[in-house]
């Protein structure tokens, strides 16, 4: 398997299955780990980084060869990748924007079905993540903990009995764990209640981010809720804290949707139908407009206002209409205006048949 094989597939976390998957797109758990006998990234030399990358690569390959880790695992030297491929991995949520833009020896290992990825030499030496579809934090934690145990067999982590896993930034020290749930909250946005929800989440020490993590906009009305505290609470307790608030948010979103239907079923139906209509007929369309309209369509499916489209299709379209994806599928570099035309053509093709087909295989 290599990066180009990823273009023709999509992550399992986009399946739209799992608990509460109409509102909860995915659950993600990540661990920050550092190797005990190297400085953190900000003070490491080129030689250090190359050595860290080599050690991790050899161990991951050993685990993959002995089938204790995915045999179909893809290991990529991020430094060697073309910019378009790095951008593709960001859109796919397999690496962070920082990891794509950094310099020097760095890598990413991606498991089958994109259920896990391991970034090497990001802000910490290792950033392990596991993504599941729907609300499934505890299962994601169990999976990532096993992965962590496997990696640790030949890698000695920087750890201190009192402070736990030592990380480059003190905001991650302790468990090094960030658990996040990506929620689709269009009705809370339409009814202008989303700000109020954020303020109450911040009061209980939970962070809110957009689709592509730190500092990103909430495109397509997707919001990631995650813990901020990593010290003094066990992994299970932290994830329970995040997980416990999700049903409350789901309930708010459902109430807001009911309110919209009660207030004016026609207005809501009109909004959803127009969005679907534009996506099926537009000749040129920006990424922002696509995300905005797909959000209405996604809500429309959940409310039974659209019946000939699957949630998983819409989930995938959010990712597959991103700039690098379109260019990878097309097999060439496109300018912004060419991308908008390509995106519209892609949407017409995928939505008129109702089915999201993979790209034509030769």
């Amino acid at each position: 398997m290599n990066l180009n094989d990823l273009t023709n597939s999509s992550g399992e976390w986009l399946r739209g299955t799992g608990p509460e998957s109409d509102i909860v797109m995915s659950s993600r758990v990540r661990l920050a780990r550092n190797i005990a006998d190297f400085p953190f990234i900000s003070r490491s030399t080129d030689t250090d980084r190359a050595e860290i990358e080599r050690r991790v690569r050899e161990h991951v390959q050993h685990l993959s060869d002995s089938r204790r880790l995915d045999a179909a695992l893809i290991y990529m030297d991020v430094n060697e990748l073309e910019e378009i491929d790095r951008q593709f991995l960001v859109e796919r949520q397999l690496i962070s924007r920082e990891h794509a833009e950094n310099e020097g020896a760095r890598a990413v290992a991606v498991g089958q079905g994109e259920q896990f990825s391991v970034m090497v030499n990001e802000e910490d030496h290792l950033r392990i993540q596991v993504m599941h579809s729907g609300l499934d934090l505890i299962a994601a934690w169990e999976r990532i903990s096993k992965l962590d145990d496997l990696l640790e067999e030949r890698i000695t982590y920087a750890f201190n009995e009192r402070l736990g896993y030592l990380t480059a930034c003190p905001t991650n020290v302790g468990t090094g764990l960030r658990g996040s749930v990506m929620l689709h909250l269009p009705a809370l946005v339409i009814t202008r209640q989303i700000e109020k929800v954020f303020r109450s989440l911040q009061k209980i020490n939970l962070a809110v981010r957009g689709l592509y993590g730190e500092g990103s906009q909430a495109l397509g009305d997707f919001y990631q809720i995650s813990n901020q505290i990593t010290l003094g609470l066990s992994e299970e307790d932290v994830l329970k804290k995040v997980g416990d608030v999700v049903p409350v948010l789901i309930d708010y979103e459902r109430q807001a949707r009911e309110f919209l239907i009660r207030e004016s079923q026609e207005t809501l139906h009109d909004r959803v139908s127009r969005a679907y209509g534009i996506l099926r007929t537009a000749q040129t369309i920006s990424s922002e407009e696509t995300m905005h309209l797909l959000s209405s369509v996604r809500m429309g499916i959940n409310l039974g206002l659209i019946s000939d489209l699957e949630i998983s299709t819409v989930n995938r379209l959010f990712i597959h209409t991103q700039p690098a994806h379109l260019q990878k599928l097309r097999g060439e570099i496109l300018s912004a205006s060419e991308r908008d035309i390509e995106r519209a053509a892609y949407l017409r093709d995928r939505l008129n048949g109702g089915e999201l087909r993979g790209p034509e295989t030769n």
Binding site: D37, I41, S42, R154, Y157, N160, L166, C169, V173
Partner: protein, 179 residues
């Protein structure tokens, strides 16, 4: 001595170690405060909440003079100064958590509300990580020896590093086999 930026008497004598060469800077109290505060661009790079918390905590706890002294303290292992940490919001090596323990404690309390880890422990926990920390220091010393063209010292250090690395590998293999 007069302040380099205005004409007030210079009461702060700062040695800047971030450039290629150490540089002496002489400033009055007001200019020193401005000089030591991270610039706007530097602030933008940091997780804003973290930088804010640090600034607040340091403003309460330290006088400008204490802060200037603290900022110049460096970790003997990786060489990062407290000033560099304050600017970047990122530590330089595991030893920084010990080296700047006192300064980090209120910060950790502010972020997490706790200062003690509860949760997962590595399967193969290094007794105290001291050997690993020593390796970080030796590799840095080796690089410095090479830069100073002191090749004899560099090769001594390289041998020492190799011995420690080999020892660590043996103990690692033993503990893996035990599992």
């Amino acid at each position: 001595m007069k302040c380099q930026r205005c004409n007030n008497p210079a009461t702060f004598h700062i040695t800047e170690l971030t450039g290629d060469e150490p540089q002496e800077v002489h400033l009055c109290e007001e200019c020193a405060r401005e000089y030591l505060a991270p610039s706007k661009e530097e602030m933008a790079e940091v997780v804003p909440a973290l930088a804010g918390m640090l600034a607040e905590q340091l403003a309460i706890g330290q006088t400008a003079e204490e802060l200037a002294r603290l900022d110049q303290r460096a970790c003997p292992i990786c060489g990062i100064t407290f000033l560099e940490f304050r600017k970047q919001g990122r530590l330089g090596c595991p030893n920084d958590y010990l080296c700047f323990e006192k300064e980090l404690e209120p910060l950790l309390l502010n972020i997490h509300g706790e200062t003690k880890h509860i949760g997962k422990v590595p399967q193969r926990c290094p007794a105290d990580g001291k050997t690993q920390i020593r390796l970080i220091r030796l590799r840095r010393e080796m690089k410095e020896a090479v830069m100073m063209e002191n090749y004899e010292r560099a090769s001594e250090l390289r041998d020492e590093i190799r011995i420690i690395e080999a020892e660590l590998r043996v103990s690692q293999d033993q503990s893996t086999k035990r599992d």
